[in-house]
């Protein structure tokens, strides 16, 4: 049969499309069902966070960082607060460090549950989505108990915390750990090892390690490619070096190392590791005042700091430059999702249109973090 001449078709995916996880527009160039080129168009959620930060005092920036990656606010606060504390050179009370680790890990669980649930939803599995959101609600209830907010907390302060935890919080957290373990197994049975789900995700969008590192991909998306690297272990911050946990990687248990399924399963494994860290920390919280080290006026010396942290989505860092005044001179957020999304063109080429949805979901992007 003679070659059929086909026209190249341009297709807009988004900006209002549930599978783009926010307001992201992907311009696809298609050859029949096959994707030739993906061009992400960003900026629909741009709020000029970095410009706002320059007009605020240091503590006033924290609520803005909450609104970057809004399903993962604690980790954003942690990265910013650590960076400013480094610049100030202040010592943090032990109690604060322990509570920060517990909160960050609870937040990691909540964020991964959203990632798993919505990813299942992308593949057409609606039930796991409801299960995940139900469990996430339980984590959010704990946050609400401790600081009154469900999603945007302003909980970590420079040098301390806004509220101390209560004994009730500790009992409830222990109950949650017991409750979550079998639930994670259930989600794995429902979704992770579901044949339809594996067919949709295994061997799709394979990301080689060298490409990932060169493009700045980090976190579970990088570990899905089989490299054992976690900033909590390899470039440790806060008190993470005191806890025993494993760095989970994609092993090619299903599909190929570096494909969508392996990126996905790292998150499912990591929930268990976060539970382990919380278990170790919850009984060791020392006594103390959580606001004893909070400075009255945050006025660092002229200089700059850059602290990298392992947020649930990957490497999150704030580059904070001070000119010695009360306002930061420049705050630049090294956004995780921004870097992770940038490889999408490279690994989507040659796949079908429906696969682009799965590849995009496997990076667990949040547009608030990308557009800032």
């Amino acid at each position: 049969m003679a070659e059929l001449r086909t026209e190249e078709l341009t297709l807009n995916m988004g900006p209002q499309h549930p599978s783009t996880h926010g307001v992201l527009r992907l311009v696809l160039k298609l050859n029949g069902e096959i994707v030739d080129d993906v061009k992400p168009e960003l900026g629909y959620l741009h709020r000029c966070f970095e410009k706002h930060a320059e007009a605020m005092t240091y503590p006033q920036v924290i609520p803005y960082t909450d609104r970057m990656d809004y399903v993962n606010a604690m980790s954003n606060e942690l990265a910013y607060v650590l960076s400013v504390e480094k610049l100030l050179g202040i010592e943090i009370p032990e109690r604060v460090e322990y509570i920060r680790v517990i909160m960050s890990e609870l937040q990691r669980i909540a964020s991964h549950l959203v990632a798993i649930g919505t990813y299942g939803n992308d593949a057409g599995a609606f039930t796991p989505f409801l299960y995940c959101f139900m469990d996430r609600e339980k984590v959010l209830e704990l946050f609400e108990m401790v600081c009154g907010a469900r999603m945007l907390y302003n909980y970590f302060w420079i040098g301390g915390l806004s509220h101390d935890i209560t004994p009730e919080f500790i009992t409830k957290t222990k109950e949650l750990i017991k409750y979550l373990r079998p639930r994670i197994k259930q989600v794995n049975n429902l979704l992770s090892y579901n044949k339809i789900f594996i067919e949709r995700t295994a061997d799709i969008g394979i990301l080689p390690v060298d490409v990932a590192i060169n493009a700045g991909v980090s976190g579970p998306s990088l570990r899905g490619s089989g490299i054992k690297y976690d900033l909590r272990k390899d470039d440790t911050y806060s008190i993470y070096n005191r806890f025993d946990f494993e760095v989970c990687v994609g092993t090619g248990e299903r599909g190929t190392v570096g494909d969508c399924w392996n990126r996905y399963i790292v998150r499912a494994y990591e929930i268990e590791q976060s539970l382990r860290i919380i278990e170790q920390a919850i009984d060791k919280i020392p006594e103390g005042d959580v606001q004893s080290a909070v400075p009255k006026r945050v006025k660092p010396v002229a200089g700059e700091s850059y602290v990298r942290t392992e947020s649930p989505k990957g490497e999150l860092a704030y580059y904070v430059v001070s000119d010695g005044s009360l306002n930061p001179y420049r705050v630049k957020a090294r956004s995780t999702s921004f870097c992770n999304l940038s490889v999408i063109n490279q690994i989507s080429r040659g796949h079908m249109i429906a696969d682009v949805v799965m590849i995009l979901g496997s990076f667990d992007i949040v547009l608030g973090c990308i557009d800032r």
Partner: protein, 159 residues
């Protein structure tokens, strides 16, 4: 490898292309590289056996002082687990830097962002367009002398 060792090594190869080093500043030491040498220096930093900075963690544009802009590179090596901070300072009258997007793919979008918000041009970048703001936006908001426009395309901005 510590910053001053990297600095000595680079100084031997690139001589004038490498500016002064600052070690007594809070929190991390850094050194300057000239704008036209940054691409060659980056390639050396990535490929030299003992350095192997294979990851560009962050690239930030900033309004440096009254007459200058700056680009700051935060590098990391997954092989040797060491970090490096490099700065390029360029005059506002001619804000041109050589691109490093051919060395690290991560620089592609970061450079577009720096161009968009701070307004320096990256010479040799394959696709230098605005990334966060709309194509027809005027000015670069992260400049210190940026004035918030009263009108956007004839429409009054309501604040």
């Amino acid at each position: 490898m510590e910053t001053n060792e990297v600095y000595e090594k680079l100084k031997r190869v690139f001589e004038d292309g490498i500016g002064e080093i600052k070690t007594d500043v809070p929190v991390y030491p850094f050194f300057f590289v000239s704008a036209d040498k940054i691409n060659a220096v980056s390639l050396f930093l990535r490929d030299e056996e003992s350095l192997q900075f294979d990851n560009l963690s962050c690239l930030s544009g900033m309004d440096y002082d009254k007459d200058n802009l700056a680009v700051v590179y935060h590098l990391y090596s997954y092989v040797h687990h060491h970090k490096l901070v490099v700065k390029v300072v360029i005059p506002k009258s001619n804000p041109v830097v050589k691109t490093v997007s051919d060395v690290w793919a991560a620089a592609d979008w970061h450079e577009r962002e720096a161009y968009d918000l701070v307004g320096m041009t990256f010479e040799g970048h394959p696709d230098l367009r605005r990334i966060l703001l709309s194509e027809d936006w005027e000015g670069h908001p992260l400049r210190k002398d940026y004035k918030v426009p009263e009108f956007y395309k004839g429409m009054k901005v309501p604040y």
